[in-house]
C-alpha cells in the first residue's frame, strides 16, 4: 500500500469564451514511504498542476474541476475540505517551489517565515521557535543561521534562499515532500548541492519525495521510479534503470536521445524532438505526441492508446513503441 496513491487525477480549466483545457488527464501513480518518484516532462505537460492539485493549492474558482483520487494514508486529499487541508499542508505534506526569490515573502525576515510553520503546526513560540529555526537553517547548510534569521530574502544568495525554503518545508518532518523543479532557477554548481541536500534529508527521515523536473540528469541522480508526462497524461512509467536503458515510448526515447553526449564525436548533429508541445491534436482522442512523433502510424490518431504493462511493471501508452534493445 503506497503512502500516496494518485488514481485517475484529472484537472480541467474552463474559461468563458475559450476552449476548456484538460491540463491533467487521468494521471495515476503511487509513492511509497521513503521513495523518490520523478514526474518528468516539458513545461506545460501538467506536472506542476498535478502537484498543486494534490496540495489543494489550485484556485478554487468556477471553471476549475478536479476529479480522481489522491489517497494519502487513507485520506483523499482531493475531497478534504479547505480547513482540514490547512492542517495537513506544511505538517504531513510539504512543498518546495521553483523560484526561491519569488517564493519568499520579500518584506518578512527569513526567521519569521521559518518560525511561522513551527508556530502553526508544532505550537512553538518565542525562544523555543527561534532555537528550532536556527537548528533547521543549520541542518540545511546555511552558515551563521542565527544572523540569517534576521535577514530578508533579498540579502541571501539564490542557493541560500532555496535552502531556507527547504528548511520551511521540512520543519515539521512531513511524510511527503513535493519538490517542483527545485533547482531550475539555480546555478549548476548550486543545483548539485541542493539535490544532495534533498537526498540526504529524504534518506535520514524516511520522507517520500515527489521530484518534479524536466532535467533527465536530476532523474538519473535521484529517482527510484519515474513517470513521464506528456500533455497531461502519464505516457510511460518505470523504475529508473529500465526507463533509461529500454525506453518504450517514442517521446521518452526522443528525450533521452536529445541529451547532448560528450562521446558523440565532433560534428555529430544533436537530436532534438521536432516541433513543440504546443503542437497538440485538434481533437480530443488519439496520442497527443503524434504530431511530433517519428514512429507515427495511422492508429495513433484514433483512440487514446491504452496502457501496456510489461515486465517489472514497466508501463507505456503507445501503439508503435520503440523496439526493445534499441540503443537510446
Amino acid at each position: 500500500m503506497p503512502l500516496l496513491d494518485v488514481r485517475d487525477l484529472s484537472v480541467t480549466f474552463a474559461r468563458r469564451g475559450q476552449r476548456t483545457v484538460r491540463a491533467v488527464d487521468g494521471v495515476s501513480f503511487g509513492v511509497h514511504a521513503g521513495e523518490v518518484v520523478g514526474l518528468v516532462g516539458e513545461s506545460g505537460c501538467g506536472k506542476s498542476v498535478t502537484s498543486l492539485a494534490i496540495m489543494g493549492l489550485l484556485p478554487k474558482q468556477r471553471g476549475v474541476t478536479i476529479d480522481g483520487v489522491a489517497d494519502f494514508d487513507g485520506t483523499d486529499l482531493l475531497k478534504t475540505d479547505a480547513r482540514a487541508m490547512r492542517d495537513i499542508r506544511g505538517r504531513d505534506v510539504a512543498m518546495i517551489f521553483q523560484d526561491p526569490l519569488s517564493s519568499l515573502n520579500p518584506v518578512v525576515p527569513i526567521g519569521v517565515q521559518v518560525t511561522e510553520v513551527l508556530t502553526r503546526h508544532r505550537g512553538m513560540r518565542g525562544e523555543a521557535a527561534t532555537k528550532e529555526a536556527t537548528a533547521l537553517l543549520d541542518r540545511v547548510g546555511i552558515p551563521d543561521p542565527a544572523r540569517r534569521l534576521k535577514e530578508y530574502p533579498h540579502q541571501l544568495s539564490g542557493g541560500m534562499r532555496q535552502r531556507a525554503l527547504i528548511a520551511m518545508a521540512v520543519a515539521c518532518k512531513p511524510r511527503l515532500l513535493i519538490a517542483d523543479e527545485p533547482t531550475t532557477a539555480l546555478d549548476v554548481t548550486i543545483q548539485a548541492q541542493i539535490l544532495e541536500l534533498l537526498k540526504e534529508l529524504v534518506r535520514d527521515s524516511g520522507t517520500a519525495l515527489i521530484m518534479i523536473t524536466h532535467d533527465l540528469g536530476v532523474v538519473a541522480g535521484m529517482c527510484d521510479t519515474v513517470n513521464v508526462l506528456y500533455a497531461g497524461r502519464v505516457i510511460e512509467n518505470a523504475r529508473r534503470k529500465p526507463l533509461f536503458y529500454e525506453p518504450r515510448h517514442p517521446y521518452t526515447t526522443g528525450l533521452l536521445r536529445s541529451v547532448p553526449r560528450l562521446d558523440a564525436g565532433r560534428g555529430t548533429p544533436l537530436n532534438p524532438i521536432r516541433g513543440s508541445v504546443r503542437d497538440v491534436l485538434p481533437w480530443p482522442d488519439g496520442c497527443a505526441f503524434a504530431p511530433r512523433c517519428d514512429r507515427r502510424v495511422d492508429a495513433c490518431v484514433g483512440e487514446p492508446p491504452a496502457l501496456v504493462v510489461g515486465y517489472d511493471g514497466h508501463g507505456y501508452r503507445c501503439v508503435n513503441p520503440t523496439p526493445q534493445g534499441a540503443q537510446p
Binding site: 492542517d87 506544511g90 517564493s103 520579500p106
Partner: protein, 334 residues
C-alpha cells in the same frame, strides 16, 4: 535612516529657494498690485505711488527679494497688506482648520478605502467587487464642489442632520488654544465643543474624501489582486498557515507598498480640494483667505502661505518615503 532624512531635508533647501524665486517673480508679474486693492477706484497715480513706496514695492526686485529672504530667515514672514496682521498669526489662525479637514478626509478615505478595496479583491467578480469598482470610477469623476453642494443640500439643509457651515457653533463658547478645534476641545475637556467641531467636519470631510477614497479603493484592489497571484502567497498556503496569517502577514503587508505611495501623493493634492470644500461650507481654513489674497495681491501672505504649504507637501512626501522603507526592506536606507 537618520542620514537619509537629513539628506532629504537638505535637498529641501534648493527646492524651497527656487520656488521662492519663481513665486516672487511670478507674483510681481501679476497685473495690478496691492495698492489697487487698498485704494480701490479712488486712487490717484500719486497716491498709488505713495502706497507702493510705503510697502517698499518701488525698489528693484533683487533688493526686495533680498529683504524677503533676510526676514524669512529670521522667521518673520511680514505683515498682511489687507488685514494688517502678521502673516504667521494669520497662518496659525487658519491653517489648523484646513489640516483638520484634510486629516478627516484622509481618515475617511483610508478607513473605508483599504478595507473596501481589499474585500473587492478577495471577492473578485461578485456584486461587491463590481459595485466598488463602479462606485470608485464615478467617485473620481464627480467634481468635489458639486458633491459638497449636494451633500450640503441633502444632509444639512433638507434633513438637518449636520450643520451646513462653519467649524463650530459659536454659541458653545469654546476655548481655543491651538485653533485645532477638536484638539482644543479635548485639551480643555470641553467635550461638547470637540464633538461639535467633529460634527462640523463630517460633511466637508466626506466631500473632500471622495476622490482619495475612490483612488485608494482602486489601488488597494489592484495591489491585493497582484499580490494574491504572487509565488510567496502560494508558499504561505503550502505551509498550511491560517487564513489570517496568510492575509495579514503575506498579502496585506506587500499590498501596502503602492498604497502608501498613493496616500502620500493624495495628501499633498488634497489642498486643492480643501479650498473648494471650504468655500462651499464657509469653513474658515486657508482656502478662502488665500483666494482673497490672490485677488488683493497680498504679496506677504501669498509668499508665506504658499512656501509653508510647499514645505508641508515635501515633508508629507518625506514621511511617506520613510514609512515605505520601513515596510519594504529592499529599499531600506542605511
Amino acid at each position: 535612516m537618520f542620514r537619509f532624512i537629513v539628506r532629504r531635508l537638505l535637498q529641501l533647501v534648493p527646492t524651497l529657494l527656487g520656488l521662492s524665486v519663481l513665486l516672487f517673480i511670478w507674483l510681481r508679474r501679476l497685473p495690478g498690485g496691492p495698492e489697487t486693492a487698498i485704494l480701490g477706484e479712488r486712487g490717484t497715480p500719486a497716491l498709488r505711488a505713495q502706497v507702493r513706496r510705503s510697502l517698499g514695492l518701488d525698489e528693484p526686485l533683487l533688493i526686495q527679494y533680498g529683504r524677503f529672504v533676510k526676514r524669512t530667515l529670521q522667521l518673520d514672514l511680514g505683515t498682511s497688506i489687507s488685514t494688517k496682521r502678521e502673516v504667521t498669526t494669520e497662518f496659525l489662525l487658519r491653517f489648523p482648520g484646513t489640516v483638520e479637514l484634510t486629516i478627516t478626509a484622509m481618515i475617511i478615505a483610508i478607513g473605508v478605502g483599504i478595507p473596501l478595496g481589499y474585500l473587492a479583491a478577495r471577492r473578485r467578480g461578485t456584486w461587491l467587487d463590481h459595485a466598488s469598482v463602479g462606485g470608485s470610477l464615478i467617485g473620481i469623476c464627480v467634481p468635489v464642489f458639486f458633491l459638497a453642494y449636494v451633500l450640503k443640500a441633502i444632509f444639512a439643509e433638507n434633513l438637518g442632520w449636520f450643520p451646513s457651515s462653519g467649524r463650530q457653533d459659536p454659541t458653545i463658547g469654546a476655548t481655543h488654544i491651538t485653533n485645532f478645534f477638536v484638539l482644543d476641545g479635548l485639551m480643555t475637556r470641553e467635550w461638547d465643543a470637540a464633538a461639535d467641531a467633529i460634527w462640523h467636519l463630517v460633511l466637508p470631510g466626506i466631500a473632500l474624501a471622495s476622490i482619495p477614497l475612490a483612488i485608494i479603493v482602486r489601488i488597494t484592489r489592484a495591489s491585493v489582486l497582484e499580490v494574491l497571484g504572487e509565488d510567496f502567497v502560494r508558499t504561505a498556503e503550502s505551509k498550511g498557515l491560517t487564513e489570517r496569517t496568510v492575509r495579514g502577514r503575506h498579502v496585506l503587508r506587500n499590498a501596502m507598498l503602492p498604497i502608501v505611495t498613493v496616500i502620500g501623493l493624495l495628501t499633498g493634492g488634497l489642498l486643492s480640494g480643501a479650498v473648494l470644500t471650504e468655500t462651499v461650507f464657509a469653513f474658515s481654513g486657508i482656502g478662502a483667505f488665500l483666494y482673497e489674497a490672490i485677488s488683493n495681491r497680498d504679496y506677504p501672505v501669498l509668499m508665506g502661505f504658499i512656501l509653508i504649504i510647499a514645505l508641508f507637501y515635501v515633508l508629507v512626501n518625506l514621511i511617506v518615503d520613510v514609512s515605505y522603507s520601513l515596510i519594504d526592506p529592499r529599499v531600506r536606507v542605511r
